[in-house]
Symmetry: C2
Subunit: 162 residues, 2 copies
DNA sequence: TATTGTTATACTCTATAACTATA
DNA sequence: TATAGTTATAGAGTATAACAATA
């Protein structure tokens, strides 16, 4: 972000700047390492785009699942996202306090909660998603292109089935 | 992993099992979500393969960087891996206690530590990596194939540059 | 007996501030 | 003044155990 230091000064004492690039060694061929770095970069970009909405990836995913499956039981939502049901409680509490989602009585099972978006939650999610497409996914397609993005998605799905 | 429940029993009361699959909704097209699921699956497989070595991904990455860049300063190692220098201290402490890596005086700067693998660390890393190739990367190539794995690596690199 | 939502708890990761010794 | 390593601390994310209500 700042001005690039050219640092051409040839000093007399041994080079104070260590060396050129750091060699990744064995890490270079490991898929997990490259996957992690890419995932961190994408999540960072996601959070930058959602900063004004105060929405983290996990929160967005909960809203998206509820929107697509209104009335789904709490346990099924957390399970679908791979979130421990105990940890899901506080996550949902916050969305409920923000009036984006709500817990309702589930038909036929008084132990369960059926989850729904509030009208505010519906419009909030739609607008957040629109913004996400314009900012975040747009930046991704700028470096990948549409064809390679879909190619990447299919490659990732094969890994998820590991 | 367990036996697949066929559950063909047609009960009289309304279907107790909610529905078929959960719809991912907006999540389906989001690259970040798919990336995260794939990364989690790959890290899980990595940890399974490294269970007997008691080596987590971050620990492996530190050993790999030091092996490829012996004598590199502590701050440069943590920086190369994107690990906060404050958090790197305990990580390195453990590797040093296990006699896999060591801190040495850096030539020309008494503030810095130069990092090296111990002979034990060298052979430990080599063996862990050999096992990783045989178990972990082998399973990955089984679902991806060599060509698609390299294709995936190049796609991921473009994202990391976001 | 088993399941749903919940609380409590602990352990890992990550992020920031501040100290020390050096530069 | 600035940097390298360190400590302390706080916040997320994640995992397990146990409880009450209900099935």
């Amino acid at each position: 972000m700042a001005v690039k230091k050219t640092k051409p000064a040839a000093s007399t004492e041994a080079a104070p700047e260590p060396a050129g690039r750091v060699d990744l060694g064995l890490l270079d061929g490991l898929l997990g390492y490259r996957l992690r770095r890419a995932q961190l970069a994408v999540f960072q970009d996601f959070m930058t785009a959602m900063k004004d909405y105060d929405l983290r990836p996990a929160q967005f995913s909960v809203l998206a699942i509820i929107e697509a499956n209104p009335g789904l039981k709490q346990s099924r939502v957390s399970e679908a996202l791979g979130i421990n049901r105990a940890n899901f409680v506080a996550l949902l509490d916050e969305l409920e306090q923000r009036k984006l989602a709500r817990r309702a009585a589930a038909a036929g099972d008084r132990r369960s909660n059926a989850l729904y978006l509030t009208p505010k939650g519906e419009s909030f999610l739609k607008e957040a998603y629109r913004h996400l497409l314009q900012q975040h996914e747009r930046r991704i397609e700028a470096v990948l292109g549409s064809a390679d993005k879909h190619l990447l998605l299919s490659l990732l799905d094969r890994l998820t089935a590991l």
